[in-house]
Amino acid sequence: MSFSLNKSYKILLLLVIFIVIIGFWNPNALLDGLQRGSLYSLIALPLALVLGILGVLNLAHGEFLTVGLYFIFMLNTRFNLDPLVAIIPTVIFLLILGAIIYWLTIKRVVKEGHLSQLLLTFGISLILIETINIFWTSMARNVYTSYSYASMEIGSFRFGTYELLYILIAVLVLVGLQLFLKKTRLGQATFAVGQNPKGAKIVGINVNYVYLFVFSVAVAILGIVAGTMLPRTAIFPEVGSPFTLKSFALAAMAGMGNLNGILFAGVTLGIGEAVINSIPNYGGWSDIVFFGVLIIVIISRSYRGAR
């Protein structure tokens, strides 16, 4: 994991310039993009954490988000719990679910090749989607809250306030993760395992425990995301699936293990998507932003690596 500050400042500066230009040109797209971007990076953070420390690309990542969304939906319909309050039980539930799934399956493939890892997590994702299908069918569902469509006005510019929460939570989760990795003993152990599992083992760190912990925490973070997302999103069994690839796109763009970079990458791509989306008649092309950037980044890295 690298946290080189100099590079971060340069990227930050470029990002600020980018945001200011977009802000003057199309403020609506800017705000939309910031919100999308922070949501994307919020979802990508745990994926990058697992990828950086376990070295496993979790293809079931988006499905864990779906499970979280449905769990909150259930709490909301059965016990009339507000989605934002329901985050707490959901995080606990996902923490346990993540630990169980790690213990039963992921643990056995951590040291194996990428093929078994990809296939295993892919199998898990299929199981999760289909389990939801069995319980809730493929019908789209909604949760209504009074605050989710609140809006604010500054001068003549009107915008929704609820989605600003995404930005706040993205920053909070990122700062929380960084503090945890740097300040706590467990965090430092995690850091050490991410850099060199063998060395970490030699100095007496229980690597397996760290893996278990990182995987469950990564899944649990999705519970926070799910609670924040639910008031504004219609849910169906495949709702989380597109996020897996998008999260990987961000992790690849930021560079493996660079957690700050994910927020920058997420915001940049989110704004890019929003800008294209706001062009009349060409809105459909916005889906190509992530995949196009992903392909370009991977290929340009491969060319640079060859030299």
Binding site: I124, E130, L245, G292, I298
Partner: protein, 317 residues
């Protein structure tokens, strides 16, 4: 000897199936054979050590190419199947120069991203491709005659099996295995790694395109959602895994087994019958990493039940 007899028996059953079964069974077997061909084509690429997630993408490209030239230009449907295959192969040839530089996780993810890019492009060129609602053919191929469609699909599946066997029995096999086991060594012993990868990538993509074209003509429609559905990626992978990768027999056994199981489950479980695929994949990855075919085959070899290999076994001792 016994092996040849089994193969002969299977061929006879496959050829005479329409004589003693109804439309419903024929339909099931047609779709199983479609997935069988996809599964084999995925496995052929995997034999080079490259995990491709682009199966659904090339499947969709072939399907769209063949349907569009029939609808927009009035081509003969059968000819259009070939054009679907050629188009997929051609796109794979161009993209191959870029993506075949990548390895492992990056190759897998890039091919998956390409699948999405294809579907976004097709959805947005709506004048030509029909956009999000897709295109509908005037009628299915052969006016929807299930027997003729079954034979067409059987020919495609047979073609996949033959290509897979050719790959296994010719010089390509050695080159491919060498690349998978150690690319640097392969390169230093004079194998043109890129050339072989490109050859396999283009031929498997063309095969996927052909399968896609046949599938589209069987159901007489294409649309971005269902034609580029990830099912055409995931189910073939599950089948190959269950049967056993790096072989021709594995994907065949896997496709028949999973195809029949899921068809049965579909009847008793309208929602979520695909869960069996997930459970089987997880189970196979964890406990039978070599697949059912190889595991059983090895067990049989050990207990000397397969007669023909007995001598080979004792000779090696």
């Amino acid at each position: 000897m016994r092996k040849n007899l089994i193969i002969l028996l299977l061929i006879v059953i496959a050829l005479t199936l329409p004589l003693y079964t109804g439309v419903y069974i024929l339909h099931i077997f047609s779709s199983i054979l479609i997935f069988l061909a996809l599964s084999l084509s995925w496995d052929m690429m995997l034999r080079t050590g490259q995990l491709s997630f682009g199966t659904a993408g090339f499947f969709g490209l072939g399907a769209y190419a063949s349907v569009l030239i029939v609808v927009n230009m009035g081509f003969n449907p059968i000819l259009s199947l070939l054009i679907g295959a050629i188009f997929s192969g051609f796109i794979a040839f161009i993209l191959g120069f870029i993506v075949l530089r990548l390895r492992e996780i990056y190759f897998a993810i890039t091919t998956l991203a390409l699948t999405h890019v294809f579907s976004v492009i097709i959805r947005n060129f709506s004048d030509f491709t029909g956009g999000a609602s897709g295109k509908i053919l005037a009628s299915a191929i052969f006016e929807g005659d299930p027997v003729k469609i079954y034979y067409l699909v059987l020919i495609v599946a047979g073609l996949a099996i033959i290509i897979s066997e050719v790959f296994k029995r010719s010089r390509i096999h050695y080159a491919i295995n060498a690349i998978r086991n150690d690319e640097t060594t392969a390169k230093s012993s004079g194998i043109d790694v890129f050339k072989y990868l490109l050859f396999v990538f283009v031929s498997t993509s063309a095969l996927q395109g052909l399968v896609g074209a046949v599938y589209a003509h069987q159901y007489a429609f294409v649309n971005p959602e269902s034609t580029f559905s990830l099912n055409f990626l995931l189910l073939p992978i599950a089948m190959a895994l269950v049967g056993g990768i790096y072989s021709t027999n594995g994907p065949i056994i896997g496709a028949l087994l999973l195809g029949l199981i899921s068809e049965y489950l579909k009847l008793i479980m309208p929602y979520g019958h695909l869960i069996v695929y997930g459970l089987i994949i997880v189970f196979v990855v964890l406990f039978l990493p070599r697949g059912i075919y190889s595991t059983i085959h090895n067990k049989l070899l050990k207990s000397n039940i397969i007669g023909g290999d007995k001598n080979a076994n004792t000779a090696s001792k």
